[in-house]
């Protein structure tokens, strides 16, 4: 019924977008303006910026992103199961225990492989 509709969320989203855009636009119009070249440079503790701004970063961050993707999808599988858990009984519990055991096995594997080590 009306109570469960997504319409209020849409209204709220529109209000939030309007608020955010208007505030940013008006603040940049009303704010004071100075034109100075040095001010527009990237901040680097007062010295001239050295080298490329897009520095290289560790491959570890990429690995973390992949692990997140795997584990998060697996975590999402738990939601529908959790909702109907009390009607599934022992069978549902054993099934999900095996599923979580596989998850934990994967975690132990990447752990032992040293993928979670930072140095």
């Amino acid at each position: 019924m009306e109570q469960n509709s997504f319409l209020p969320i849409l209204i709220m989203l529109v209000i939030a977008i309007l608020f955010a855009v208007f505030t940013v636009v008006f603040s940049s119009l009303l704010g004071k303006k100075t034109f100075e070249k040095g001010k527009l440079k990237a901040y680097e503790c007062g010295i001239e910026p050295v080298g490329e701004p897009h520095v290289r970063f560790d491959i570890k961050f990429y690995l973390i992103a992949i692990f997140f993707l795997l584990f998060d999808i697996e975590a999402l599988f738990l939601f529908p199961w959790a909702v109907v858990f009390s009607s599934l009984g022992l069978y549902g519990f054993v099934e999900m225990f095996l599923f979580i055991a596989i998850l934990v096995f994967g975690l132990i594997y990447i752990w032992k492989k040293g993928a979670l080590k930072w140095d």
Partner: protein
Amino acid sequence: MIFWLITTLIKILIVFGVLLLSAAYLTLLERKVAARIQNRLGPMEAGFHGYLQPIADGIKLFFKEDIIPADANKLLFILAPIIVVIPVLTTFAVIPFGAPIKIFGHIVPLQITNVNIGILFVLALSSLGIYGVVIGGWASNSKYSLLGAIRTAAQMISYELSLVLSIIGVIMIAGNLSLAQIVSSQAHMWFIVYQPIGFLIYLIASTAEMNRVPFDLGEAEGEIVAGFHTEYSSMKFAFYFIGEYGQIVINSAIITTLFLGGWEGPFLPSVLWFVIKVFLVILIYLWFRWTYPRLRYDELMDLGWKILLPLSLANIVVTGFIMILLGK
């Protein structure tokens, strides 16, 4: 239908105003709490005991010069703070903040809308904030911003796992994803009693997800200036703060709803109970910040992946086991 639309609009405007105002006043509360912990007085000049300080700060930031670095990707640079603030302002749509009341013979629930996937909606929106951080850090075209953004992104996704898994226990007991249903199933006993480990994991993981001390590696002042918002100024800078403090309010409201019985409580009006509980959880977050030193990055990742993640998985299994034993 018309009545429903009008009440919904009124509720939306009230929630919107209260959320923005409390995000602003949380900056004052944080400074006051910090001051008390460090045996100082905090802001005292603007108004009585500094109560007008957030208003003054807001006006100041609004009229400040808006600097967009010459090397920045302009569109994304402007878009990023907006992306941070929009999900924060929208999340409150599904959180129930009081018992249903009667107006002109109609029953009006004190919740903007009770969608049946409430908690999933909250999780989905709260993880959108990370886009604002990453886009902002990348578009600034500055070393510190990029480093801060990458660190924050890795940290947020690591803790998101434990955050999501710590809620599963609550859903198993409540058997529902709707937040109103979760509150009403706590009428007899708060879920913190059944899920103490889940509560602790949620508290820690949400602190890390909001980049607050002791997990504020993304904006560690001593190392990378201010992290992903180094290059931001004026209202765009303020938006990152509205985002952060709004997120504190929302996370406290979610903890209240999931673990502390929501608006349920004796004697006092239900809305007041909700506000009291949210306020106490907010105080815990602030207390964290002024008590613990910042973690090292490897410690941070170890805590997320090697302690919280296995613990939250174990919590699910133990919860399931006990529920089977009790035959529920």
